[in-house]
Amino acid sequence: MTVPATSLTAEFFPSRTARVVQYLRHLRWAKVVPLLVLTLVALTSPLLLRFDPEVVVGPSSQAPDGTYWFGTDSSGLDIFSRTLAATRLNLTIALVVTVAATTIGCIVGLVIGMNESRRGPVGWVSRGAARLVDLVEAIPAVLTGLVIIAFFGVSTGTLMIALSVVLAPIQIRLVRTEVLRVRSEAYLDAARSGGQSELGLTLRHVLPNSISSAVENCSVIFAVAIIVTAALGFVGAGVAPPTPEWGAMLARGASDATVGRWWPAAFPAFALGLTIAAVSVGFNELLRRRRA
């Protein structure tokens, strides 16, 4: 009697260790490895550099060869070192923005969603905020980001704040939609009749049940953050010039491209594309729901 019972328990309620093992065993490593390599490169990039990325190290516009693996740009900076060094900055910005936008999205989405049908000023404010989120989302992110940065000055910090503010509405809307769905579920009434406070109920039941779509959307937010960061760098409103950044490198490479030199723009472009692909594939694989 006990033997099948324990095996049943083990099957349906596996221990934490068993769950982790199960999770790791079903992971498709081919999809996760690029993400891990990318993270590793970002963490160890100072060790991998061949030259100082901010100093002129060779002849200008040198085609890729044994010394300058990716060539040099029109001022003689080593493109390999700059591309690698930029990985850390671009990934950090995107990561911070993703976390910040999602956190803001969860908090604001929960507050708006839970209070929207209330009477009185709280309800009005919530409904107004919900409309405002829709409105802000209507404006292209690049343009709002550009203007915010122009107003508050160019720095990595402002860049992160601006992008978080611009991208948060997407997450807010996702969370809010889910909260509105979850709110009518019977288990909330059950918890209420069990005497749980409204705040406890929100944190214990509504939050975990309503953030999944926003969390899954993180890879999209990450990709958009990378693209917009590079776009702002491209138009010269991102990180200040000598600092290696893919967008700024691309912009410099664009003038080289018109005269037929492909390497100054190609390598940061590849880095950008590979990063976006690695992150979206890897992240989706990590979050994939596994059918046992």
């Binding site: 209507a138 343009l143 122009a150 691309l250 491209a257 018109t258 472009a269 692909a277």
Partner: protein
């Protein structure tokens, strides 16, 4: 919303003549009835000024929340108390907060967005000459994307076994992975620098060509109006690469949304019903497209925003004069007044597009009109 539904069931009842209005009040009744019946789009249109007002206040607050003293930053070396006061006046930063807001609003109602701090030219004049050119670029990109996605989705959904369908679905899955500036640089390298099949990325016309006189502001339309087919084709050739780049970078999103909506609708009960009642293939396909349209129309609206954002980059890269370049110059010279006007213009444009999207969707699918109750 507050309105109470005019359900489909009520309509025939009214048409049957339960309310026969008196002759004297008929005209006013019919106006009221017209308004009542078209509530769905009238209320939506009336909401637009409110939404614009929200953005006016938002941009107003954004400028006021700039860190430090923007006036001093603007003046730099030229600081004197008199110049400070003059600059304060020009930037609309004098008086109390409420006075600033009312004068700002007063200006906007009179279509006055202030004057550029850098060169003193009225922002609205600049926008008037630059906005049409940018709109033309974005609309060309949008139009081509829409055409492309309709054709591509047809192949992907209705010829789903073909090789092309697989390629299209693969392309749609990669939506948004390669930003447009990367494609633009690649395009310049390949088609201009290497193959030399597109003109130099410097402006809408070759250097030795004379621009046609400005009448509408849209370069292509102006060329046609002036009877200058040479200028028209030259401009089109210059715009070809940027438009193709826009399309390649963004149409995948639209195709993905359209294909997934079509996949769903092709399998819906309504489709089976049409096939079962013997409708022609053409009718069935049309009905599937109509039911799949709303999601794609919304996406097309979003896409327009992306394209508009993209023009900032493309105009710089291809040397096209337009609003994007204007905004970028303002950003680089810290011209607050121009940026304020630019943000407001973009916001208004986006809101207009979303109004259009909403109304189109309500036209295509009456169930989307506010207050309509549906069964099931």
């Amino acid at each position: 919303m507050t309105s109470i539904a005019l359900t489909p069931a009520e309509k025939p009842l009214r048409a049957a003549g339960t309310d026969a209005p008196e002759k004297s009040t008929r005209s006013s009744h019919s106006v009221l009835r017209y308004l009542h019946r078209n509530r769905w789009w009238i209320t939506r249109v009336l909401a637009l000024p409110v939404h614009v007002f929200v953005f006016v206040v938002l941009t107003f607050l954004l400028v006021r929340s700039m860190p430090g003293d923007p006036i001093r930053a603007m003046l730099g070396q030229n600081y004197t108390p008199e110049s400070y006061a003059a600059m304060q006046e020009r930037m609309g930063l004098n008086g109390t907060m409420f006075q600033q807001l009312t004068s700002y609003l007063h200006g906007i109602v009179n279509l006055d967005l202030g004057e550029s701090i850098v060169n003193g030219r009225p922002v609205i004049d600049e926008l008037q000459t630059r906005l049409p050119a940018t709109l033309e670029l974005a609309l060309l990109g949008l139009g081509l994307s829409i055409l492309l996605s309709i054709a591509a989705s047809y192949i992907a959904v209705f010829h789903h076994r073909s090789v092309i369908a697989h390629i299209i679905r693969g392309y749609a899955r990669a939506a948004g992975a390669v930003p447009e500036y990367v494609l633009a640089v690649a395009g310049i390298l390949l088609f201009y620098a290497t193959l030399q099949i597109v003109p130099a990325p410097m402006g809408r016309l070759d250097v030795d060509e004379i621009a046609p006189p400005t009448t509408t502001g849209f370069p292509l339309v102006d060329a046609l109006l002036a009877g200058r087919p040479d200028a028209f084709w030259s401009t089109l050739a210059h715009l070809a690469l940027p438009v193709v780049v826009m399309c390649a970078a963004h149409s995948a999103l639209l195709i993905r949304v359209l294909v997934s909506a079509l996949d769903k609708e092709a399998d819906a009960t309504a489709t089976r019903f049409r096939i079962a009642s013997g409708a022609s293939t053409r009718t069935v396909v049309k009905s599937i497209y109509r039911r799949a349209a709303p999601a794609s129309v919304t996406m097309a609206g979003t896409l327009f925003g992306y394209l508009l954002g993209g023009t900032v980059i493309l105009e710089t890269l291809f040397g096209l004069s337009g609003m994007g370049k204007y905004a970028l110059d303002a950003v680089n010279s810290g011209d607050v007044v121009v940026m304020q006007g630019f943000l407001l213009t973009v916001a208004t444009l986006s809101l207009l597009v979303f109004l259009l999207v909403d109304v189109t969707n309500m036209l295509i699918d009456p169930r989307r009109r506010p207050g309509v109750r549906t069964e099931g």
